[in-house]
């Protein structure tokens, strides 16, 4: 039996490499975003922002390698479609890591001192959503039960939503310039979209698993 799916092992090992690269992007993003927030988007962080971009680019290359492998190994079109869709959808998360850093850095957004902690907390909640989604994705590729992993992603998305709303409400209740408030709202929305994308990915995973159980 093991011989039967030996062919697919190479696809799985490439997917693992892809996830390692997205994890690396996550780690660099986490540090860079916190530094950008705490240093008021200091220009000395240009290299760190570039590092997020480079890590995302590497993850992208690995994703392309998986796609190529998917077409080389004869998979049933439905399985291929599910995996391609999942990877494409998953890719929006590291893209958003990059977008968050770009917005803060290129627009030199200065987060007010009393909000910095809450911005970092919001980033952490969204990174948790990413981690949970990646765990759920492994259920599709390994013989693990999905259990309530997708539900946990939804919970995180709700937690992020609540934090976003509270943060936006509190920012608009200050006497900051309206343009600054709008800029901060954009940053909050972009950070929050990480968990939105994570939820989309977990929906796909759930669907792919349900499809195979009918």
């Amino acid at each position: 039996m093991a011989k039967l799916w030996k062919k697919q092992e190479s696809i799985f090992s490439k997917i693992q490499v892809y996830f390692e690269k997205t994890d690396a992007t996550r780690d660099i993003f986490k540090k860079t975003a916190a530094d950008l927030i705490n240093s008021d988007a200091d220009s000395s962080l240009a290299d760190a922002v570039e590092a997020v971009h480079a890590a995302e680019h590497q993850a992208d290359n690995e994703r392309r390698a998986v796609i190529l492998e998917l077409y080389k190994k004869a998979l049933i079109p439905e399985s291929r479609g599910d995996i391609l869709g999942l990877l494409e959808s998953f890719d929006t998360i590291p893209n958003t890591f990059q977008a968050v850093c770009n917005i803060i850095f290129f627009q030199s957004i200065k987060i007010p001192e009393n909000f910095k902690g809450r911005f970092v907390d919001l980033i952490n909640v969204n990174i948790d959503a990413y981690n949970l989604t990646k765990d759920a994705a492994f259920c599709l590729f390994k013989e693990e039960d999905l259990l309530n992993k997708c539900e946990l992603v939804c919970d995180k998305e709700r937690e992020s939503d609540a934090a976003e709303r509270a943060l936006i409400r509190d920012i608009y209740s200050t006497d900051m310039d309206l343009a600054e408030k709008n800029q901060l709202k954009d940053v909050i929305k972009t950070i929050g979209s990480i968990s939105d994308h994570a939820e989309d990915v977990s929906d796909r995973i759930e669907l792919a698993i349900i499809k195979r159980k009918i």
């Binding site: 039967l4 799916w5 062919k7 697919q8 092992e9 696809i11 799985f12 004869a74 998979l75 049933i76 079109p77 439905e78 399985s79 599910d82 995996i83 599709l140 590729f141 390994k142 013989e143 039960d145 792919a208 499809k211 195979r212 159980k213 009918i214």
Partner: protein, 313 residues
């Protein structure tokens, strides 16, 4: 020996059309290369014909007393009917065309052994119905088994791919076993071929049709079947193969196209969705009536023409 050409033509037509029902899904979804599918097809068609094809030969050769000329005309009339109806995109079954053509000759001669016909007609109706029933039984049993195995996406994919190729081989075996009688069965009564020769020539001419002309038909049929999920396609082809094999044992050649429609219809019943439209079902019923009638008229016209113009009997 030239009289065998009409039988080979019939076999070619059968191979070109019916092999699509067997490997259409696997080839169209690029799970298996067309050339690889052809190798499997030919091996298993020949195996099926040689091991289980003889029973059907007895049924068809016993319907009407044939001589060399009538056998030639019967096969030619059936093959022409199948080819023209296929060209006109009308529903057609080689088995029904052959039986119709045999009866046409029998009507002109004035002797048809009607005792075997009820069995033949019952099997025609029983083919799609049997496939619906087989699908309704197989689908829940095998899906539960698959769920119990707790496979990941790659393992399930590999298993289904292997399954589709395996049922394709079984389908080819059943097609050979069931349909070889349509091709050369009528020559046995004439003494032109003995049973082993008829089985070899019949299966080889089916292979010839598969090799030379089945690719396009495979794409058309495959496209329709691939709209099903892979597991459903696997069950539909498996049901078709089982039913064809059962009728091969019973000794009545039936239509693989109608069998696969029955399988797909069964999937619809199991899943509570519409997989086959009313028109396709009507086409089967129309096919039951028109194919043998047209083939009968063609063979009658050809035989009467041959008697009047060429003076043959």
């Amino acid at each position: 020996m030239f009289r065998l050409l009409s039988g080979i033509f019939m076999g070619w037509s059968l191979g070109a059309n019916d092999s699509a029902n067997i490997f259409g899904t696997a080839v169209f979804s690029r799970m298996v290369k067309f050339k690889t599918a052809l190798v499997w097809l030919c091996i298993f068609i020949i195996l099926g014909s040689m091991l289980q094809g003889a029973a059907g030969m007895h049924t068809l050769s016993g319907l009407v007393e044939q001589n060399l000329n009538t056998a030639f005309i019967t096969a030619l009339a059936a093959a022409l009917t199948v080819t023209v109806m296929t060209y006109l995109n009308l529903p057609v079954s080689t088995s029904q065309a052959m039986v119709g053509a045999i009866i046409g000759i029998g009507v002109v001669i004035g002797h048809v052994d009607l005792s075997k016909l009820p069995k033949v007609f019952a099997c025609w109706v029983g083919t799609p119905v049997g496939c619906v029933i087989a699908t309704i039984i197989l689908y829940p049993v095998l899906s539960k088994l698959l769920a119990k195995m707790k496979l990941n996406i790659f393992q399930q994919d590999s298993l289904l791919r292997f399954g589709l190729i395996a049922v394709g081989c079984y389908g080819a075996y059943s097609l050979g076993a069931n349909n070889v009688a349509n091709v050369t069965g009528i020559y046995i009564e004439t003494g032109l071929l003995n049973i082993p020769q008829a089985l070899i020539l019949g299966s080889l001419s089916i292979c010839l049709g598969a090799i030379t002309y089945s690719k396009r038909v495979m794409q058309t049929v495959g496209e329709k079947l691939v709209k099903l999920d892979p597991f459903s396609a696997f069950i539909a082809v498996l049901s078709m193969s089982i039913i064809l094999n059962i009728y091969a044992i019973v000794g009545v050649p039936v239509s693989s196209s109608q069998a696969i429609v029955g399988g797909v219809l069964g999937i619809g019943f199991v899943k509570g969705v519409k997989t086959i439209n009313l028109r396709t079902l009507m086409n089967i019923v129309i096919g039951w009536l028109t194919t043998p009638l047209i083939a009968m008229m063609v063979s009658m016209a050809m035989y009467i023409g041959a008697i009047k113009l060429l003076g043959i009997s």
